[in-house]
Amino acid sequence: MIPQELPPYGLVAEFDSAQALVVAAEKARDAGYQKMDGYSPFPIEGLMDALGHKANILPLLVLIGGVVGGLIGYSLQYYTSIYSYPLNVGGRPYNSWPMFIPVTFECTILGAALTAVFGMLGLNGLPEPYHPLFHVERFALASRDRFFLAIRAVDPKFDLIQTRKFLESLGAKEVTEVPQ
């Protein structure tokens, strides 16, 4: 049973084509909606812009992750070669930095890649076993051949009746109220 006293999560509109979804998202963005998201079986070029997606901090996190990874990689070699186990190799200085670059580079990539994967998961709030949209039966088609635009109730411009009318005017096949 769904508790009736909770406000709805929002409204979800179903579209037939990727193009229709992008156009609808653009119109919704231009109408002032902000808290919305699009769902489709495959990535759509231009949908992010249409949804009014703004730059997030992930690139910055990845940069920091890379720099930290590189520093760790270099420090590891520096510590090993200078303090822990100094070894004279062919008369070269202990801190033979050119020799340290490949490992430093690899650790930079490792740090950046791990930050990218886990940062993406974290910022997206994944893994997310429950989502209100799962209440909508037809939403399962989002992983097959339908395209969905959801506008959340927390959006300042959201109004159950007006927003439903607006979505229908965009040519949605069906607009469904999503319970919390």
Binding site: G46, S96, M99, I101, P102
Partner: protein, 403 residues
């Protein structure tokens, strides 16, 4: 695509005249340098640097042209005409080589009978490193490169009118063996023309490093030209955000491969620490050359690398063109750094006098200017966007989606 309006070409003839004038002045300074005993040898060396730069842009463009036939994609389609114009400068570049062929003995120890007589090592290598064979090899390289450039250009013209998928397939079929031929020829050519300046030294990485430098030269030049030309309608509509971003990403990849190969050679020689290998770097860290080496690390790798990581830079026409031009300038610096310190037996190579330095600049500007004028002449012969391409719809779409 076929209905793209023909736009008059406002500034290209003007650029061409300026390039021709600047080039003529540079060549005149080089010729004047020939008259003096002290600067003559520098003219030969400078001509070698200028030749390597121009042949690098032409050949690098040929490689990228073949690469885009093999991989497909929008980025290749919009770059095709600048690339084709650059490859059709091959006859001029061949002409640039001829003076060098006549003064081999002033540049290469192995071509000087007196030096070969005195050095058993050179006698040992004389089977490969001798003047007649070097001429024959150069003839083979230029024959292959000219033929590849000629055929790819000719077929592309035919395709403009015939709109025949079979011609496109023919270009693809030529590009695969063409790529293999390039790798083979440039490996030998880099040994003949540059590595054998120091016949006692060897590096297995050299051909790949030299060839990658050429690919980078050709690509950076084509990207810079495309952005400069994109103010004109017919290519302007094709160079939107996503296409530019793809070009920027490729430039980043090429910069990284160049840096990888160059650094690998350094690392191998540093780790080996062998007396016959290490001097090559010691000569290049002497005097002012170490500052040029440092410039390469910063402006040929670090700065373009950091800038091209950013999507905003890659999508910005002015920024992308600036980075490409910076890389192209650094290609010239890299060739100077590779070639001139090789003449370490002559103390003037470590610290060339002012007159000699002027000649190096004059040769680069002069040969570059003449080459650029010839390139512009080739570029204006055909519309800037090819008329037919199976991927043309994609190229237009990429530009629109970027906005």
């Amino acid at each position: 695509m076929s209905t793209a309006p023909v736009v008059e070409q406002p500034n290209l003839p003007r650029w061409q005249s300026i390039a021709l004038l600047v080039g003529a002045i540079g060549i005149a300074i080089c010729l004047a340098g020939l008259a003096f005993e002290t600067t003559r040898v520098h003219v030969f060396r400078a001509w070698l640097v200028g030749f390597c730069l121009t042949v690098g842009i032409a050949l690098g463009s040929l490689v990228v042209l073949m690469l885009q036939y093999l991989t497909g994609g929008d980025w290749g389609f919009i770059l095709r005409r600048p690339l084709e114009a650059a490859t059709s400068t091959m006859p001029l570049v061949t002409l640039f080589y001829l003076p060098l062929a006549l003064v081999l003995s002033s540049l290469y120890e192995w071509a000087d009978p007196a030096k070969v007589e005195a050095d058993p090592h050179l006698q040992h290598k004389a089977l490969y490193l001798n003047v007649p064979f070097a001429w024959i090899r150069a003839g083979i390289y230029f024959a292959i490169w000219n033929l590849l450039a000629f055929l790819l250009n000719r077929w592309s013209r035919q395709q403009d009118t015939a709109r025949d998928m079979a011609i496109h397939k023919r270009c693809e079929a030529l590009s695969a063996p063409g790529m293999v031929l390039y790798v083979l020829t440039i490996t030998f050519a880099s040994v003949d023309w540059v590595m054998s300046l120091e016949p006692e030294w060897f590096s297995t990485m050299y051909g790949a490093m030299f060839g990658m430098g050429q690919v980078l030269s050709g690509f950076a030049f084509a990207v810079a030209m495309l952005v400069l030309l994109s103010r004109r309608l017919e290519v302007g509509q094709l160079t939107g955000g996503n296409n530019l971003r793809d070009l920027g990403s490729l430039l980043l990849a090429f910069v990284m491969v160049w840096a990888y190969l160059s650094f690998s050679q350094f690392l191998l020689i540093y780790s080996g620490n062998l007396p016959e290998e290490v001097p090559w770097y010691i000569y290049r860290f002497e005097g002012g050359w170490k500052y040029l080496g440092l410039m390469l690390v910063i402006f040929h790798f670090a700065l373009p690398f950091v800038l091209l990581l950013s999507t905003n830079v890659k999508r910005n026409r002015a920024m992308l063109a600036s980075v490409a031009l910076l890389v192209l300038l650094m290609r010239a610096v890299d060739l100077l750094w590779l070639i001139v310190p090789a003449f370490h037996h002559n103390s003037e190579a470590v610290n060339p006098p002012l007159g000699a330095r002027l000649i190096y600049v004059a040769a680069l500007v002069g040969m570059g200017g003449i080459w650029f004028a010839y390139f512009l002449m080739q570029l204006q012969r055909w519309p800037l966007a090819p008329a037919f391409n199976p991927y043309a719809e994609g190229a237009v779409h990429g530009a629109v989606a970027g906005h």
